[in-house]
């Protein structure tokens, strides 16, 4: 059929079974928005900032496993969205982001709201397109969804000049995507898998190192099966939280800079690292030359460039982690669980020596308690998003995650302001679950305008602001490594968070005691409107354990031992 470029966008999104689009209109994208007005195939959620539109699409994608879609205009609309694109790129989140561009005849003339969008997005997307002819649009949009969702997922940006959205051309979306230059390798090499399983069977102290790729590949339940059948202990990266349930006896904990003592020690003592969908990030490995120093490395990843990038893999396996784990399960008979009993005991002893905990030694609420408490009260019924900073690490450490896609956080880029819009996207994708955003008094102000979106679109996100009147993580580093010079991190001057929420039509609570917190959370869950629960927490609490930047995993700063009250 002959339709306009703008209509093609709508038709393609409907054909891709997109049900929710996040966005913000503007001059160059107006033709598309005109078509959005006329259609009822999907809902459009108007955020109040383009960055939030992308984060919301990320949250939506992470919670649902589908491709997230966002739409923005040219120039500042696009540049505002760049942080979101970079965030999605770092965390391998499949998105299709469509931006308007000035008409073709004006490209390169420094026109109003013109910016070289594909030039900017090139380094922070998996792929991008500048559409120069509406006849290419069906193919490009189909490729965009295909590229975003397959292989190592990631954001794809499609920039469409305004005159192209008005241009009439033939639309046929039944075409097959055929990209001769893009063929992700999804099936692991069977010989290599067999060798890896033999290496596991021959090892004495093997350790699963579970990464976020497992969640992306929807492989968590297969991985659970593999872990249980082998009896091999497992550590999770921050991005992999929820792969194993918190009460799984073989889950040692989270590893890395703020990982548990037992996890980091297990990684230092293991003789065979089994890395599944993990990328040996510097926040995980600490000093590379000391990382799993005496271990062989099995590395399963969909992205060949992730393998042997930082740590040399003795058994590299390129493939979709779900396929590979299924193949491993077929060979699991060679691995004898009893053999690792002593190793499991060793790991458990590490945990008994320095368990992950905190001290309730001040009058003020401890931030860790808040995370634990939400876990006790809501547990599996909540999806947890976070912003970036101390509260983020405490969420990763103390929330009792029980399923994949329950935890949504900005791991790679570390984007403050991510949490609230992401939690809106999570709520849109999973309305039956309570959507919690753990945030800090610094992060929440970076996208607090989204209160308006949440009120308008009835996305009742509960933002739990752990308020320590500090930019806490930076303050912690200043305390520990900069001789307590708290340069520009004291956030004593603050808005009234209760009134702020109320000003937008949300609900606010200020909480000083545990009783008040329980009551506020209960009330917020029942009220079912967007909420700020501001919890006044201990100001100087540090995230522990901590591996100082560039240090070895086994050299952790630990929580001081005290008598527990």
């Amino acid at each position: 059929m002959q339709i306009s470029g703008a209509q093609m966008v709508i038709e393609a999104l409907i054909a891709e079974e997109v049900t929710t689009v996040f966005g913000y209109p503007g001059g160059a994208i107006m033709n598309v928005y005109d078509e959005i007005y006329k259609q009822d195939g999907f809902q459009h959620i108007l955020t109040r900032h383009e960055q939030a539109a992308i984060h919301a699409a990320e949250g939506y994608s992470k919670a649902s496993g589908k491709v997230g879609v966002a739409m923005i205009t040219s120039g500042p609309g696009f540049t505002n969205a760049v942080t979101g694109l970079a965030d999605a790129y770092m965390d391998s989140i499949p998105l299709v982001v469509i931006s308007g561009q000035v008409p073709m005849s004006l490209i390169g003339t420094d026109a109003f709201q013109e910016i070289d969008a594909v030039g900017i997005s090139r380094s922070c997307t998996k792929h991008n397109y500048l559409v120069t002819d509406a006849a290419d649009l069906p193919r490009i949009l189909k490729e965009a969804f295909h590229i975003a969702a397959t292989g190592r997922p990631g954001p794809v940006h499609v920039d469409i000049p305004k005159d192209v959205t008005a241009q009439i051309a033939e639309f046929d979306y039944s075409i097959d995507v055929s990209l001769e230059t893009y063929k992700p390798h999804t099936k692991g090499n069977p010989r290599q898998i067999k060798k890896a399983m033999e290496a596991i069977a021959n090892s004495k102290r093997p350790l699963f190192y579970l990464g976020g790729g497992i969640i992306n590949a929807n492989a968590a339940y297969e991985v659970r099966d593999l872990v249980h059948k082998t009896g091999i202990p497992a550590v999770e990266t921050f991005m992999a939280r929820g792969t194993l349930s918190h009460d799984d006896g073989l889950l040692v904990g989270m590893l890395g800079m703020h990982g548990s003592y037992a996890s980091n020690m297990a990684m230092s003592e293991t003789d065979m690292v089994i890395a599944l969908g993990a990328r040996f990030d510097d926040r995980v490995t600490g000093k590379l030359s000391e990382f799993a120093k005496n271990a062989g490395v099995i590395h399963v990843d969909i992205d060949p460039a992730s393998i042997s990038k930082l740590v040399n893999a003795d058994y590299p396996i390129v493939g979709d982690v779900k396929n590979v784990v299924n193949e491993m399960l077929e060979l699991v008979g060679r691995v004898k669980s009893e053999k690792y009993k002593a190793w499991r005991d060793t790991v458990n002893n590490f945990d008994e020596l320095h368990p992950l905990t905190y001290h309730e030694d001040t009058d003020r609420i401890k931030p860790q308690w808040v995370v634990e408490r939400v876990g006790q009260l809501l547990g599996d019924d909540a999806n947890i998003s976070t912003d970036v900073g101390q509260h983020q690490m405490w969420s990763g450490q103390f929330y009792p995650f029980s399923r994949p896609r329950q935890f949504i956080s900005s791991g790679g880029l570390g984007t403050m302001g991510f949490g609230f819009p992401a939690a809106m996207g999570v709520k849109a994708a999973a309305p039956e679950k309570t959507s919690i955003n753990f945030t800090g008094d610094g992060s929440i102000l970076m996208n607090c305008q989204e209160l308006m979106t949440a009120v308008e679109k009835k996305l009742p996100v509960i933002n739990i602001i752990l308020n320590n009147n500090f930019l806490g993580m930076v303050r912690q580093w200043q305390t520990l490594f900069y001789d307590k010079r708290h340069s520009e991190t004291d956030l004593s001057t603050q808005p009234d968070f209760v009134k702020l929420a109320e000003a937008f039509g949300g609900i606010g609570y200020r909480v000083h005691t545990k009783e008040e917190f329980d009551a506020a959370l209960k009330d917020a869950v029942e009220k079912d409107i967007v909420a700020f629960i501001e919890v006044i927490v201990e100001r100087m609490e540090n995230v522990m354990p901590m591996v100082p930047s560039g240090g070895s995993l086994f050299n952790m700063m630990l929580l001081e031992k005290k008598e527990v009250k």
Binding site: R122, S123, H127, I147, L179, T181, P304, A305, S308, K309
Partner: protein
């Protein structure tokens, strides 16, 4: 520091807009070196071939080829071991220099005089990159006014 060595990488790409900037952006974003880069369409196909001379440790070179592979419009990446490599250079001399000497030198390096003007002569040579460097050293005494090098092209044996 791991040993850094010179490597030649050939890349076959779909000949479409911005493909070259995807490649050069990747090199700059990841801190890889480009010593030289040549690019031209492959006749009667929709592809272009790039020859990139770079340097780095074994690990870095491996990363370069893997990261290049990840770019969507890239069809193939070859990291050459056994190859025939040629580079071209053109040099402009004042016509007052000893043309016979220069001409003899050029011939020794697969070259010749390609232009003679009233005030200048232009020569070209095409040879292995190392020999080209050698040639450029030797002709210094003839006061070259301008030198242009093409960058290397290479084919596997």
């Amino acid at each position: 520091m791991e040993n850094s060595e010179r490597r030649v990488i050939s890349v076959i790409v779909i000949n479409e807009s911005s493909v070259l900037s995807r490649i050069t952006d990747l090199f700059s974003a990841r801190g890889y070196n480009i010593t030289s880069l040549t690019v031209a369409p492959i006749p009667e196909t929709k592809y272009s071939r790039l020859t990139i001379v770079t340097s780095g440790s074994v690990r870095v070179i491996e990363q370069i080829t893997k990261q290049l592979h990840k770019l969507i419009p890239i069809l193939r990446v070859y990291e050459h071991a056994d190859l025939v490599e040629k580079e071209m250079a053109m040099v402009k001399f004042p016509a007052s220099e000893n043309i016979a000497d220069i001409s003899t030198l050029c011939e020794a390096y697969n070259g010749k005089i390609v232009n003679v003007g009233e005030n200048i002569i232009i020569v070209m040579v095409a040879d292995e990159p190392k020999r080209i460097d050698n040639f450029l050293k030797l002709i210094k005494r003839y006061n070259p006014k301008e030198i242009v090098k093409s960058g290397a092209v290479a084919l596997e044996r």
